[in-house]
Structures are given as C-alpha cells and as structure tokens.
Symmetry: C2
C-alpha cells in the first residue's frame, strides 16, 4: 500500500506511469468496469432536490458470489438487516441503493419497505429477462435517519432503472452520482490487473465517517473467478486496513455497508493474495477519496503512531488523537499546538511513558522525549496536508489513521442537516 499522500494526488496514476505488469488504478471508472456488470443511476424523486437518488448494480454472471461487511452499530437500518440476511447465501445478483433517506429507526414498516424494494427489483429484472429472486438483491440506503421512504417513488424508480442499465462505463459513474448525500464529488475507481481481470468500486460518505466503517455505502465488483469465501476474506482484510482506519468524527452510521460481487466473467481464477491486494488497493483509494471529501474538511490529516508495542496499540492511540476535538480545531487553525497531541495520547487506553514520546508535524520535530523542541511553535501548517507522527519509544509496531480537521464548515453543515 502506498502512502496517503500518493493516494490523494492519484491523477498521475490515472494518466498512467505504472509499469505494464503492475495493477493499474483508474478513477474515471467504477463498478461497471469489470466484465459482467451493468449499473445505472437515476433521479427517482426520493430527494426533494430532484437530484439523482437511485442506483442499481447488476451482475450478469456467470458467477454470483458475494460478500459483505456491515456497520458495527447496534442500531442497524432496515436495509442493513435485510442485506446481512440475504448475504448468508454468499450470492447476489443485484444491489439497489438509494440516497435521500436512510430507512433507519423506521420500525417494522421500514423493514417491510426494504423487503418490498428487493421484491420489486427482482420482479423488474425477471421481466427484463433475468430470473431473479428478492433474496438475491441487497438493499442500501443513505440519508436522514428516522423517516420512511416514499415507496411510490421507489417502486416507479425501480421499474425505470432496470431499463437504464446501459453497458459500458457510464452506468457505473451514474450510479456513483446517485448515492451521494453531502458528498460534493462522486467516488469511484477501477483496478485493471495485468492477469486480465478487474476490480471496480464506488463509495459515498462524507460525514459520520468512523470507527467501524465510514458512512458509507460502497459496492465493489470483480470479474475474477472467486468463491464467496475468497471474496469475504479479501473484503474483511481490506476494510480493516482502510475504511476502519478512516475516522472523521468518531461516529458510526446505522447504514454502513460494503459489498463485493464477483461475476467471474473474465473466466480467470484468482489467487487469494492477488485478490486481497487488488481489493485493498481499490478500498484504499476510495478511503482516500472519502477523506478528501469529508464534511467541512480543510485539512487532510494522517496520524501515525510508531514505536508501539503492538499494531493494535498504535491504532488505538492514533484513533484517540484523531478524534480529539482540541487537536482537530488546532489543526484547522494551522496551529502547531503539540501539547494537545500529548494530552490526547495520555488518555488513550494504552500504557505509555510520557517521557519517551516524540512528535513531529510534517517532518518537523515539535516534541522530543515529552518536552518541546526548539522552534516548535513556528512550524508552518498552513498547507492542506498534515502528517502527525508520534514516536512512543516502546516497541517496533506502527499504524496510521486518516482523519480531518474540525472546521467551521463541519459545524455549519452538521447543524443544519435535517431541517
């Protein structure tokens, strides 16, 4: 995995430059880049704004293996409960996604709405010529918690969207647009493997990003031949290292869902290691896109903890610092107030030695062995990217968390969301 700095400015990667025998990431493409997948995105009238709000990802086969990772929030939205249930089969033909409403905390009626949506998609796909059951359709929703969806619009949209599934790449891009909420740009990427198979992905999520997963709907597709178990392994490894380490505001959504579907349409069987690496690269790129477009972001911050006894310790401390409001407001103010970093490290549930801690901001030492370094107050943090590195001096393990600053725009956007 490359560093986050490399990820953020991936334009040179898109332009090419990777050796021909290395996997290549392309951000103009998404879920419909792999063979055997169609996608579409339309405006179904779920959002009051009239913007795109319904997306479909359809697997034409010949394989239908699938895996999913879901929010660890105990309060799970109806579509999460539904999709977890259907995923026990290890098999999916389609994913229907809506923005404009989370369908969370909507009671038994909300669950019936999700079920009816899956039935409607199955029926529309069957009418279109592909015999499909509701149990083969995952459902994802995002938006305000607590309101029922306008089901008349959802049903009409489902009928329409099946006819919009053009082949080619544009369907994937349309789908990426249709799942946006407070996102300002769509997020997608495709990986082309030199062995001839591909992985595509799209994601959304701009607030509530956090510990378990970002808020976050994410659909990944591949045309490699892979079993449901292979997909599950690759997906869990990748999300643990990417979305789980993106922590914008410590909140975990009721709706977080990451799905990986395989069509096998390339006819190429894939090694677990190759699949793991490819899914990780796609998730890592999407995580960087999510960070860059987080609500109110003015700084893209990477907190790295090194010299820890274990990687878990490093991640726990990095996450504590990444969630500290006083650290995040200081970074918003481009203020090299390293004392707040030390205070945050000190409340992490990991035993540390305060006199061994050293901290640098963008490579400039600001604290050495627990006390201020010369010139620490003059370090220039006016740029967009800030790398905070914390050396504990206790061991050999390290880990990083991606986060953002806490800005006026974050407060603004989140104080007027539902009204």
């Amino acid at each position: 995995m490359t560093t986050s700095d490399d990820r953020i400015d991936a334009d040179d990667r898109i332009a090419g430059g990777a050796p021909l025998d290395a996997p290549r990431l392309v951000r103009e493409q998404g879920v419909s880049a792999p063979l055997g997948f169609r996608a579409a995105g339309i405006a179904a009238g779920i959002k009051a704004s009239g913007k795109e709000d319904l997306a479909l990802v359809f697997n034409e086969g010949p394989d239908y293996a699938a895996a999913g990772v879901f929010t660890r929030n105990q309060v799970k939205a109806a579509p999460v409960l539904w999709s977890q249930q259907v995923l026990t089969t290890g098999r999916l033909r389609a994913v229907i996604l809506n923005s404009g409403g989370a369908n969370a905390c909507t009671g038994p009626g909300g669950f019936q709405d999700t079920h009816a949506t899956a039935e409607a998609v199955a029926e529309a796909l069957s009418n279109w010529g592909t015999e499909t059951g509701a149990v083969e359709v995952a459902v994802c929703s995002t938006g305000l918690i607590g309101d029922r969806l306008p089901m008349d619009k959802v049903f009409a949209g489902v009928t329409e969207i099946v006819h919009e599934m053009g082949g080619g790449l544009s369907g994937g891009t349309d789908a990426a647009y249709a799942i946006m909420t407070t996102d300002t740009v769509p997020k997608q990427v495709a990986l082309h493997h030199p062995q001839g198979w591909n992985v595509g992905g799209m994601g959304k999520g701009a607030g509530m990003l956090a510990p378990s997963l970002a808020t976050m709907l994410c659909v990944l597709t591949t045309d490699a031949r892979a079993s449901a178990e292979q997909l599950d392994t690759a997906l869990r490894r990748a999300t643990a290292l990417t979305f789980d380490r993106l922590d914008v505001d410590g909140a975990t959504s009721t709706n977080d869902t990451v799905l990986l579907l395989s069509s096998g349409a390339s006819q190429i069987p894939v090694d677990q290691a190759d699949l793991d690496a490819a899914v990780l690269a796609v998730c890592d790129d999407l995580a960087a896109q999510l960070m860059a477009d987080a609500e109110g972001v003015t700084k893209r911050v990477t907190i790295t903890v090194a010299g820890a006894r274990t990687e878990d310790d490093a991640i726990t401390i990095a996450r504590t610092v990444a969630r500290d409001s006083l650290v995040k407001t200081a970074l918003f103010g481009s203020d090299p107030n390293w004392g707040r970093v030390l205070a945050a490290v000190g409340i992490a549930p990991v035993t540390i030695d305060p006199d061994r801690i050293s901290v640098s901001f963008n490579g400039n030492a600001v604290c050495i062995d627990g006390a201020g370094a010369p010139g620490a107050r003059e370090v220039d943090l006016s740029g967009t990217d800030i790398a905070v590195r914390i050396e504990l001096g206790l061991g050999e393990s390290s880990g990083s968390i991606r986060t953002t600053d806490l800005s006026h725009a974050y407060v603004e956007e989140n104080s007027a969301y539902s009204s």
Copy 2:
C-alpha cells in the same frame, strides 16, 4: 442533589429562601468563606495580557488535613506530579496556583520549577510568621502546554502575594479571578451548614473539560474538623458524581486537580454523611458553573439515560452521546435530529435493544420504541437548556452527563489558542 436546571439559575438560592435548618449556598463567596482560610489573587506578569495570574489559598489551622483528586491522563503536568507527592502526607498549609502556563510537557526543568515555587511559598510564609515547609505546599498550573514558566515573575509574585492575603471574603474572589484562562467569569461558591461549619470552593475550566475531571483547577476549603481520610472519602464521592460527569469535549487535561483542605477552625467535628453531602453540593454547583461557561457554549445540555441495567451502563451511554459531534452540532442548530442520538447510543460499548429505545427532548417524545414519534421534527429546541432523556427499557438504573453543544465559537476559540 437538585437538578441541573435548578443549579444554573442559582440566583434565587443566593437570595436566600432555603429553610434556616438547611445548608445554604452562596455564590458571592468562595475559598476564604470558611474560618481559618485566607486567599489572594494578583497579577504577577505570567500572562502576557497583564491580567491576574497568581492565586494563593492559605490554611491558618489549627488543622491541616487535606485530600486531592488528580487527572487520569498519563501525561501529567509537573505541578500534578508534585502535588500528588506532597498529598501523600494528608496535610497541606497552602496551595499556590498560576494561570498563564500549564507547566506540562516541560521535562525535568519544569518539575524543578514547580519544586522551586513550593519552596518559595514556604519561605515567604515562614518569613511572614508561619513556619512552613515546601512539602506542605501544593502547586497548580493552567494554560498552554509545553512552555516553561517565567520563574523570575513567579518568584516575585510569590513574595508579593503573601502580603496580599487579607482576611475576609474578597481574597477568595481575587483568587478565583486569578486562575481564569479562557473562562469568562470566576466560579466560586460557599456552603453554610446550619451546624455552624462551612465549605468554600473555587474552580476554573472552560475547555478540555472531560471524562476524568474538567480542566480544572478546583480548591475547596472547610472549617469543619475532619481527618484527611474523611476529606478523601467526601472528595472522591463528590467528584465522581459531578466533575466526572461533566464532559464538554471528551478531552482530559494534563493538569486537572481538585483539592480539599480543612482548617478545623470552627471546632465542630463533622459526620461523614454531612461532609459528603456538603462537598457534593459545592462540587455540583461548581460543575454547573463550569458547564455554563464552557468554551463556545450556546446550549447547556443534560443527557439522561434511564432504564439501564446498571448506573455504569447509563453513564457510559450518556457519555457516548454527550461526546458525539453529530449530536452536538445538531443541538447547536436547535435541530431535533433524534436519529443521531440513536446512532450514538448504538455505538456505546453496552448491549442495548434498539427496538426498546425511546427518546425525548425537553419532555417531548421524539422516538418511541426505536422509531419516530409524531411531530418529532417540529420540537422547538431554540432555548438555551436542552434535556435529552433516553429510556432503554432494560432495567431500573439511570444516570446523567452534563455537556454542551459544538458551536462555531468552540471551533473559533480552539483553533487560535496557542498563537
């Protein structure tokens, strides 16, 4: 203990109105209200602004029993390390406090500065006629982390302040002013017990308020006759129910210190239960004052969790909600976005049943059994005080956390603190 609403508007209490046989709280008085205590506050030049920055609380005896509670942050400021050490004797004659610098993360030199300050206070008091050792002097500091204190100014200030210790109440008020940082008002209160003994207290803390204690220097005094063990018991019980349940931004300072000194000057021995109740009342009032003056506060919020299996469960969930940036920004926007409360409850490390949760804002039901209540989006939260009540439906225990909203002013104040 009364409700926080009662606490916030304590003016009627100050005016009197409590029955003559009940303890009476008076906010015009503080640490020098009990017999046997003198206090002073001066401008020693530690703060660049020239404002008051040095305070002294002096115990004239005949008893010198004392107890203390300190930050749970592993990164402890030099004055915390010093005061913890001297408190092992259970005895204090004086507390010297400075604002304008935390003396945290200042290495061995910073600890020597604290030690030298205690020595200087002991010498000045001895010259003044009260033989005192440095080991009888606690030291508290507050301000920016990471810088050494200007010791020439501290030493000159110590010499001066000993001569400023007038008797009477004004010294305590001066001391309360001198420990302010971003506080906008001094915080003090005194309790007069019908048995004839008194408890006084002052506190400061406006940001970094949190889990272990608020940032927070707090000195309490009493003229009741009480042993160090009695004081320790009363102080631990009171802080656990008050300062430990005030959580403005989840951060815990390197400098948090709460001290309780007894002069015994009333000659009245005190029951543990009476002392516990009095110290609790004073701490509760100071905690309400700290909340009301927290950095950037526009809403005073009480999160109450009821129907929990245990009080610990209730407090854990209330704290998780109190720290949730999305809940706090919604409240800043007077937005009854109850879905964010449910999402926050769902990530607390306590097993809950999402379908049994009910939530009310200021007594208006917004969520019943995990789904929206009629009219939930129209609840008016435009007032200053917001009571969030969460019923879990799992047991009989409850608990409350005091917090604030997350406002533009919080971001503003904390993004430009050290510069």
